[in-house]
Amino acid sequence: MKRRLRSVITEHKELAPHIFSLKLKTEMSAEAVPGQFIGIYPKDGARILMRPISICDSDAETGELRMVYRAAGKGTAEISGYGAGESLDILGMLGNGYDLEAVKEKKVILLGGGIGIPPMLYSAKRLKEQGTEVTAVLGYADSNTFLKEDFEKYCTVQIASMEGSVGTKGTVIDAMNENGTEGDVIFACGPMPMLKAVKSYAADHGMQAFISLEERMACGVGACLGCVVKTREVDHHTHVKNTRICVEGPVFNAEDVDI
C-alpha cells in the first residue's frame, strides 16, 4: 500500500563530496524491493514535489531504509541539511523493482554508474541471500569509490573510473571488456549514455538487460502521466506507446523501452 508517512532520520552523513548517505526509520523498510524508490518531500514551502530516491539498502530488523543520493539541486541540498533525530516525510514504496526470483539460477552482472551505484547495493545483498552468483561493476568519476566496501561484502567487485585513477580507465563497459566480465543478465543503473551503451552491449552479447530509468516526476504513483518513456509496444495501461516509469518502472527490460 502506497502512502505518505513521517519517518525519522537515524543517520545522515556525507560519503563523498555532495554524496550523502541517509538512514530513515520507517515501517516501509519491511516492504522494500531492490530497484524500488521512495519520494522524499523537502519541507520548504517553495518546493512542493517529492524527490525520487532509490533504495540503497533496507534492514527490516532495525526498520531502517538507506538511501544514498547526490545533493544535485535545491531540494536535495535542503534535505542534506537535516540531521539524525529530525523527521522527513516520504512517499513509498514506489516502482516495480528488479525481479530477483527470475534470475535466481543465473549469473548476474550489476552495473552502476555514478549516482546509479547505490541502488545496486540492495540488489547485491538480496541476490547473495538467494545464492545467485553476482559481479558488480562500478563506474566512478574519480578515486572517490563510495560504497565499494559495502559491495565487497556481497559480491566480486570491478571498478572503472573516468579519470583512470582507480580500476579501468573509462566506463563500466570498458571495465567489462577489460575484465572479460561474464554473466547472463545485467541489472544497470546510471546516466542515460551508459544505459544506451548497456542496451546495445546486451543485445550484442545476447544478454538480457534490466535498466533503471529516471524521469522528472510529479505524483510518483501513476496518476499524472508525467514520467513516461516511449515503448516498443502499446502499453497495457496507457494504451499508447509509452509507459509510466514510476509504476511500470523504474526497472525495464531494455528491449521494451525506446531510449
Binding site: 514535489l49 524521469e215 505524483c219 499524472c224 508525467g226 494504451h239
Partner: protein, 300 residues
C-alpha cells in the same frame, strides 16, 4: 450541519472534488484515500481516441508549484468506458468526466459515446495550453467559446461544466460567453502558461518548451478570477488553483465558488482532499455555519 451542494441538479455530499489530470481516474489514489468521501472525482481528460501526449520531460517543479505539459495523453473513451467507469462506480461519489478534443467534432463524439454511461457530468476542457492544435483557442475567444459550448450542449445528455482558461484578458467575458452558450456550470482556473529554462544547459526544461503552471503559487490569480467569474454569471462556479488546505478551499468558496477542486497538491500530500473536507467542517463548526451555501460568495 449541511455540506451538500448542488450543481446543475446533481447533489454532491460535499463541495470537494479532484482536479482533472491530477488524480488519474481514481485507481492510483484509491489505495491511499477513501474515494467515497469525495464530493466528486473529476477524471483525467479523455478523447474520442487514444492520445500519445507530449515527449518527456513533461513535468517540472517551479517555486511554489509545477509546470506540466502532459499533452492530454489518454487511452481514449473506449478504454475509459470499459475500465475506468466500472472502477469509479464502486465508490459512493459522483463521476465527472473531463473531455478534451482538437475540434468541436471530437468533443461531441466523446460526449455522445458517454451519454448512456453511468457518469454524472461532463467537464469540457476548452483551455488546455499544452496541445498544439488550438484547443486553447476555444478558451481564449468568447465568440468561439460560445459556439463550442452550444454545440457540445446540443449533444450532451448530462450537465456540462465548461472549464475556463486563465490566460485571457477578461475572464468575465469568457464566463459570460460560456453561460450564453448554455453551460450548466463553469470551472476555473485551468493552468497558467509558464516556462522554465535550465541555465546550465541553456535548454527548456520541458520538451514542449512551455507548460501549464499550477500549485499554491497561482492561488491569488485563481481566487481573483473565481470572484470575477462568479459575479458575472448566474450559473454555479467550481473554483480551483493551488488549493492546499481547507483555508484555501474556503477562500475560493467565499470568493464565489459553489465547489472546489484539489489538483497539484494531491501530489504533495495524497490526503489533501480528505483534510480539506474535514477542515471545512471544522470551520463551519467554529463559526456556527449551518449550511455551506451561506459561505458561497460571502466575502465583503
Amino acid at each position: 450541519m449541511n455540506t451538500k451542494v448542488e450543481l446543475a441538479g446533481i447533489e454532491l455530499k460535499n463541495p470537494v472534488m479532484t482536479a482533472s489530470g491530477t488524480f488519474g481516474s481514481g485507481a492510483e489514489y484509491s489505495e491511499m484515500i477513501d474515494i467515497g468521501r469525495l464530493g466528486a472525482v473529476v477524471t483525467k481528460g479523455v478523447a474520442n481516441v487514444p492520445w500519445e501526449g507530449n515527449p518527456s520531460p513533461r513535468v517540472t517543479e517551479v517555486y511554489g508549484g509545477m509546470l506540466n505539459a502532459i499533452g492530454l495523453q489518454n487511452p481514449g473513451v473506449d478504454v475509459f468506458i470499459e475500465r475506468d467507469i466500472p472502477f469509479l462506480q464502486k465508490f459512493d461519489t459522483k463521476i465527472i468526466v473531463n473531455v478534451c478534443g482538437h475540434t468541436v467534432e471530437e468533443y461531441i463524439e466523446t460526449v455522445e459515446r458517454l451519454n448512456d454511461q453511468p457518469v454524472d457530468m461532463y467537464e469540457i476542457n476548452v483551455s488546455c495550453p499544452n496541445v498544439k492544435q488550438g484547443a486553447l483557442a476555444f478558451g481564449q475567444d468568447p465568440h468561439v467559446l460560445e459556439e463550442t459550448v452550444k454545440a457540445v450542449k446540443a449533444a450532451a445528455k448530462k450537465p456540462v461544466i465548461i472549464k475556463l482558461s486563465p490566460n485571457v484578458t477578461s475572464i468575465r467575458d469568457m464566463a459570460i460567453a460560456a453561460e450564453a452558450g448554455g453551460a450548466d456550470v463553469i470551472s476555473l482556473i485551468n493552468t497558467l502558461i509558464g516556462m522554465k529554462i535550465d541555465i546550465n544547459r541553456r535548454k527548456f526544461v520541458l520538451a514542449n518548451k512551455t507548460g501549464g503552471f499550477s500549485g499554491p503559487a497561482v492561488k491569488p490569480v485563481a481566487v481573483h478570477m473565481v470572484y470575477e467569474a462568479s459575479h458575472a454569471v448566474k450559473i454555479p462556479v467550481i473554483g480551483m488553483g493551488g488549493i492546499a488546505d481547507a483555508d484555501d478551499a474556503i477562500e475560493f468558496i467565499l470568493a464565489g465558488a459553489s465547489a472546489v477542486s484539489v489538483g497539484t497538491m494531491n501530489f504533495s500530500d495524497p490526503e489533501t482532499t480528505i483534510k480539506v473536507i474535514d477542515g471545512i467542517e471544522a470551520y463551519m463548526k467554529k463559526y456556527h455555519v449551518e449550511d455551506i451555501k451561506e459561505l458561497v460568495g460571502a466575502v465583503s
